[in-house]
């Protein structure tokens, strides 16, 4: 198959996702939306892994890694959400900006 779409295109998509994820993490006030940004970052990395696996590398390691990453993302999301819930309970906010009593 002779394709125009190549590795680079996937990588660019992933890079865009990565950047958007970062942007989300640093601009969103709501902790859950920060989490969404993080998920985007993880997904972009995963996309890389899978793309590299398919383009020219003779092993499936990347895909295996992707599986682990997805698992991990779930775990992390769970913990983060738990913490956010707790914060919500204790401080009555999920606004990352407002959680700034510890400083300097």
């Amino acid at each position: 198959m002779n394709l125009h779409v190549g590795l680079t295109d996937f990588l660019i998509v992933s890079a865009i996702l990565f950047s958007l994820g970062i942007y989300g993490v640093v601009t969103r006030k709501n902790a859950i939306m920060v989490l969404m940004g993080i998920e985007l970052i993880l997904n972009s990395a995963n996309l890389n892994f899978v793309a590299f696996t398919r383009f020219g590398l003779m092993n499936l390691t990347g895909q295996v890694v992707a599986v682990f990453v997805i698992i991990l993302a779930a775990a992390e999301a769970a913990v983060l959400l738990a913490i956010v819930l707790n914060i919500h309970q204790q401080l009555n906010t999920v606004n990352v900006d407002e959680v700034d009593k510890l400083k300097n």
């Binding site: 993490v25 640093v26 920060v34 990352v96 900006d97 700034d100 510890l102 300097n104």
Partner: protein, 699 residues
């Protein structure tokens, strides 16, 4: 027991007295007598030494050297060795007697004078310590030990001047004496350093040998000579370091007699005499000028002073100037002779003034005295003898010694063309006679001015008058020579032979007679030979010039002295000229002299104030700038803080605070980043990633 052992005994007797009195003074009932007795024993020993030395051993030196410091040499390395020791030659022997004699007489005198003092024992202890130090100077056979004792007499002088330290002026005077002396001593010290560094020895004999061998010559030798002379300038109160001596009169009068008239101040002269062989022409010229200047300066000041002791103090300075002048011009023996005679009559003058002061209940201002002649006959008559002696009237010892100095000066002037020196010298003769008789007339003649004190005045007790009488008799010619008009015939002039110069010929005065001739002939012999050549009036040799000028000089000085006495009588006794009017007519000069040429003010304004200001500046500098600079950024702070006007606050804080502040500022900057907002942190981390990437992109 050899003479040397005896000399050591003489040296340490007063010290033992000092130790005894310091530690057990309170336990010994008549400690004063103990100390006095010790001094008389020392006197006896000294006399024995002198007689033995002068009349039995004649010339030659007894020497005892020991190794003081031996940082011994390793193989092939010079190491460092210091030898010290004592030596007795003729001038030492004579000086021993002078010192012990005056000292014992002063001890005796003090029994009366200081009787009621609160620190009587301490006073005697210090006197003992002084005697020890002074004898040490006399006995040293090396320049270092001389320096050591030099400092020690300085200290004892300090202690004795400040004897009545409750008086601010007394403690000030002590301090001033010590510090001014130190200035001279620094020069002395540097001189020693030069000598030692070049010659690796401090023994006089070694030094002279080394110089003779040419190991030290040229400007360095001149410098060494002048620097060593600096010590004498300090101790003998020569211009420009003479300012301490008048102030030193704050001490008890016997102390003034002993230390500040007869012995310690003469140590400078003794020092110059000691190192005489190494002084080259330039150094000697400097010495001569300093001496002449001092003699004149002090004499002018003495005219105007009203404090009896001040007059005597300036007179001392003036006479010391004579001695220095004498040595400087080459009249070695005469200079030393004057030292001896001066010791006797000046000590006498001081003790006499002490007697007066004692009688007047510690009144020192002459203007409050008068008419004491009848009340205190012994004091008066001895005083007159002393005054005649100092004025250089024939039949006195002063005439002998002073005349020979003046003769030397005249000869020197003729040879070198430095006429200013003899001119000043003879001028001083007039001034001396004038102020001395002014003193006598105002104090002893006329009507009493303070009747109350006059009423209570009476002749002093025997312990005080006996020393006066002894000293008065010593001020007569008979002890020195049988011919009152011929100084040359005195035994001192004969026994104190001008030592041979060791400086290279190029640096020495050319007009000394060749050594062979000089040692071979007696003074008279040399004078005859010079007379033979002097038909042409062009004299080449010092001895010839001396002979040439002899009678003229003697006549001139006598005339001047009588004129001086006459002037004093005209003004103060017969009151032909009103003293007050005279003062008014030359007011600027008078004020100038009364204020001692403003030396104190000058030094106060320049050296003292300068040092004080410098020290304040340094202290400020230390507290502010150095601390600041070390802190890291004093300049930055200075710029910023002059604006805020908080310079001090910021800079004084010093290293720790400042560096804490400085680093703290950085820290605070870094701390501001820690906003507490997690997203800021993330932005910074990202920024970090980007910066690292771009910073290290260039592989």
């Amino acid at each position: 027991m050899t003479l040397l052992h005896l000399a050591i005994a003489v040296l340490f007797l007063p010290l033992s007295g000092f130790t005894l009195l310091i530690f057990f003074g309170k336990k010994i009932r008549r400690s004063d007598l103990v100390e006095t007795a010790i001094l008389f024993v020392a006197l006896a020993f000294s006399l024995y030494i002198m007689i033995e030395k002068l009349f039995i051993l004649h010339l030659g030196t007894l020497d005892l050297t020991f190794r003081w410091i031996d940082i011994g040499a390793l193989v092939g390395h010079p190491g460092f060795v210091l030898d010290l020791g004592i030596a007795i030659d003729n001038i030492t022997a004579i000086m021993l007697v002078v010192v012990t004699l005056i000292s014992s007489l002063v001890h005796l005198f003090s029994l009366g004078y200081m009787h009621d003092d609160i620190r009587y024992t301490r006073y005697y202890a210090y006197l003992g310590f002084f005697s020890f130090s002074m004898l040490g100077i006399v006995l040293s056979n090396n320049i270092l030990m001389m320096y050591v004792f030099w400092e020690l007499v300085g200290i004892s002088s300090y202690l004795l001047i400040g004897h009545w330290f409750e008086k601010k002026s007394a403690s000030d005077a002590g301090k001033k004496a010590f510090i001014v002396n130190r200035v001279g001593d620094v020069g002395f010290f540097i001189g020693i350093m030069i000598v030692f560094t070049s010659l690796h020895t401090v023994l006089f004999s070694g030094i002279f040998k080394g110089i003779a061998a040419g190991q030290l010559s040229g400007p360095l030798l001149t410098a060494a000579g002048i620097l060593i002379f600096c010590g004498a300038v300090g101790k003998s109160a020569q211009f420009p370091l003479h300012v301490w001596l008048p102030d030193a009169m704050e001490g008890p009068t016997p102390v003034s007699a002993l230390i500040h008239a007869a012995t310690m101040v003469a140590a400078g002269v003794y020092l110059v005499a000691r190192v005489y062989p190494m002084l080259d022409a330039d150094a000697l010229t400097v010495i001569a000028y300093i001496g002449a200047m001092t003699a004149f300066l002090a004499a002018t000041i003495a005219i105007t002073q009203n404090d009896i002791k001040k007059v005597l103090a300036y007179s001392t300075i003036s006479q010391l100037g004579y001695m220095i002048l004498g040595l400087g011009v080459g009249a070695y023996s005469a200079g030393f002779f004057h030292l001896v005679t001066h010791a006797a009559f000046k000590a006498g003058l001081f003790l006499g003034s002490g007697s007066v002061i004692y009688a007047m209940h510690h009144e020192q201002d002459m203007r409050n005295m008068g008419g004491l002649r009848k009340k205190m006959p012994i004091t008066y008559w001895t005083f007159v003898i002393f005054s005649l002696s100092i004025s250089g009237i024939p039949l006195t010892s002063g005439f002998l010694s002073k005349d020979s100095i003046l003769g030397g000066a005249l000869a020197y002037g003729m040879l070198s063309g430095n006429y200013i020196i003899p001119v000043l010298g003879y001028g001083v003769v007039f001034l001396t006679a004038f102020y001395m008789f002014r003193l006598i007339i105002v104090t002893f003649h006329g009507e009493p001015r303070d009747l109350h004190k006059f009423e209570h005045a009476k002749e002093s007790p025997a312990v005080m008058t006996i020393p006066l009488i002894v000293l008065a008799s010593l001020s007569l010619f008979i002890f020195y020579t049988f011919n009152p008009f011929s100084p040359e015939s005195s035994w001192i002039m004969k026994d104190v032979v001008k030592p041979e110069s060791v400086v290279p010929a190029a640096q020495s005065r050319g007009w000394s007679k060749p050594a062979v001739i000089e040692t071979a002939m007696s003074p008279t012999a040399s004078s005859t030979s010079s007379q033979a050549q002097s038909g042409t009036k062009s004299v080449t040799y010092y001895e010839e010039a001396l002979e040439e000028s002899h009678y003229f000089g003697m006549g001139l000085s006598l005339t001047l002295a009588f004129l001086g006495i006459l002037a004093a009588f005209i003004i103060y006794h017969w009151k032909k000229i009103d003293a007050e009017k005279l003062k008014q007519s030359v007011k600027p000069v008078y004020t100038f002299l009364l204020n001692k040429w403003y030396f104190d003010e000058l030094y106060g304004a320049t050296v003292v104030a300068g040092t004080v200001r410098l020290s304040r500046m340094m202290a400020w500098f230390d507290g502010h700038i150095i601390d600041g600079i070390v802190n890291g950024a004093a300049t930055v702070t200075r710029g910023a803080s002059t604006l805020s006007g908080q310079f001090d606050h910021y800079v004084v804080d010093g290293l720790v605070n400042f560096s804490a502040r400085f680093t703290g500022l950085l820290g605070r900057g870094a701390r501001q980043v820690q906003t507490g907002k997690i997203q800021t942190y993330i932005v910074f981390a990202l920024l970090g990633v980007i910066i690292i990437f771009f910073a290290f992109r260039q592989f």
